[in-house]
Symmetry: C2
Subunit: 340 residues, 2 copies
Amino acid sequence: MMTKKSFVVAAVLVVLLGMALGCCSKCEQEGVVVETDPLPSWNEGATKQSIVDFVTRVTDEGSPDFVPAPERIATFDNDGTLWAEQPMYFQLFFAIDRVKAMAGDHPEWKDEQPFKAVLEGDMEALATAGEHGLLELVMATHAGMTTEEFEAIVLEWLVTAKHPTTGRAFTEMVFQPMLEVLNYLRANDFKTFIVSGGGIEFMRPWTEAVYGIPPEQVVGSSIKTKFEIRGETPVLIRLPEINFIDDNVGKPVGINSHIGRRPIAAFGNSDGDLQMLQWTAAGDGVRFMLYVHHDDSEREWAYDRDSHIGRLDKGLEEAEAGGWTVVSMKDDWAQVFAWE
Amino acid sequence: MMTKKSFVVAAVLVVLLGMALGCCSKCEQEGVVVETDPLPSWNEGATKQSIVDFVTRVTDEGSPDFVPAPERIATFDNDGTLWAEQPMYFQLFFAIDRVKAMAGDHPEWKDEQPFKAVLEGDMEALATAGEHGLLELVMATHAGMTTEEFEAIVLEWLVTAKHPTTGRAFTEMVFQPMLEVLNYLRANDFKTFIVSGGGIEFMRPWTEAVYGIPPEQVVGSSIKTKFEIRGETPVLIRLPEINFIDDNVGKPVGINSHIGRRPIAAFGNSDGDLQMLQWTAAGDGVRFMLYVHHDDSEREWAYDRDSHIGRLDKGLEEAEAGGWTVVSMKDDWAQVFAWE
């Protein structure tokens, strides 16, 4: 018998498998040249070359820069690095949809901020609620259920939710060039990790199907959980209490806590990733640090120093000073999304 | 140029490699039969058969109990399950040796408990200091340095420290039958994790060499760390503040936080592992739960319901009620340690 949860999981996997197969048949159609280039969505140039050069140096056993396979750890930010993050973080769309879905059980929300703003679609009022308001939204919508119930809620949402401007599923808003980097690194015996400010339990249900990154290689922000036996069934209850914020100075802490070794390559797009890149850069031997710079207002979005979401300011300066790779989405990416 | 740290790491690896090679040549000498039995240190019988049966059921694609490789997660307690834990937890020997090594910089310890007890070798006074006293020892000896400095201290200690009754290195006090289970599971595409009440950073420097378990697959208790830039170098400082206790109800929480999926097999030896085994047992499909029962006073130690270290009381009852596997070290293990 198929439970509701396994149905939802199956539905998500069918959708994602379709995307993957679509990509494969496309590659086949494009013939041999595409198959030998591990990064076909990247335009030729210094940016693409810097990735290939790094991988070649650390995987060539004759190179002084050779790194044994177990130490080939690569960490990726998620929002704005692997998938888009405009017009707002996708997890916030999830929280808003959950407030609407749960509103029937919470008549008091009609008069209470920030819930009132969400229910009335008043984004301005929501913005004035600030970080504290967002935290209240997350706690009200992400806690109070078991870990398994939350996983099912996330997967169910992903099946129906659509991005407001593209109309695509959120799991389709991933960057094709970055999927290629993930695959290229793994083909060279790298272990790829997500290290995101987003919720760890919000990402884990789908990262394996979408990015090929299993749950145990996802690091993120979290709320506390509590083990208890309900009736005769052991469960983990999600509590409305912050456990860890995996952003800024939290990223090296999260990397150390979950991975226990320093990455040799790190990929980000905002100042929130700066400490992860600094931590990566400070290790011995050859290192690779990359910033995705959102400068493509036509195919994606253009924002950096003045953006409230994914601000990239100090990071750009450090990247320049340190000789890190900065990707121009406009110039370096032949294709942005897989469905283009 | 070889730094002091890399020298220590190299020395540890040479010692460990010697152990591994010794084992291999031994296997070769014993011929073909040994090579086809993945668990040669286990006596034939129901216990050994239960392990083989489980692995066969979940890896046979034609079996209704088949589990896809990525979901083959197995978790192992460390103290008392993979290595010995008597006459006291090995990490406590480390803390005591550190107090002695650091005493010169802390003249006040001569008059302050629990440090006074340690310096005077007064184990009775140390015992009366209780959990709070142990915590003070750990904080004084495990915090206040960078993560890299601590790693070097642990590795350096392992080279010289000896177990008080066997005179062996602590990393030799590992159970040969459990090493075989780890290898057997990995040969069948399981991912093996440590989930221990011990310190995560105390284990990670050596688990890959000793158990074949990489740092990113070690879950344990931890203190908080803080990212800061010292001069121009980013470091993680270890703070004297508990972050997470990975014991009892903490084990399912730690598993969920680090691994993000429920194990299908779990191995422990004490009531501190009970919730991990309950959490494992409560999943769908076939599950394997195993308790190592220390009942061999000649080759190892015999203790269970009344022991202060590794007490196994409620767990024994649940194991019986639930039909879990209980290993009699005395009857089920042909060999306990690799050097026997």
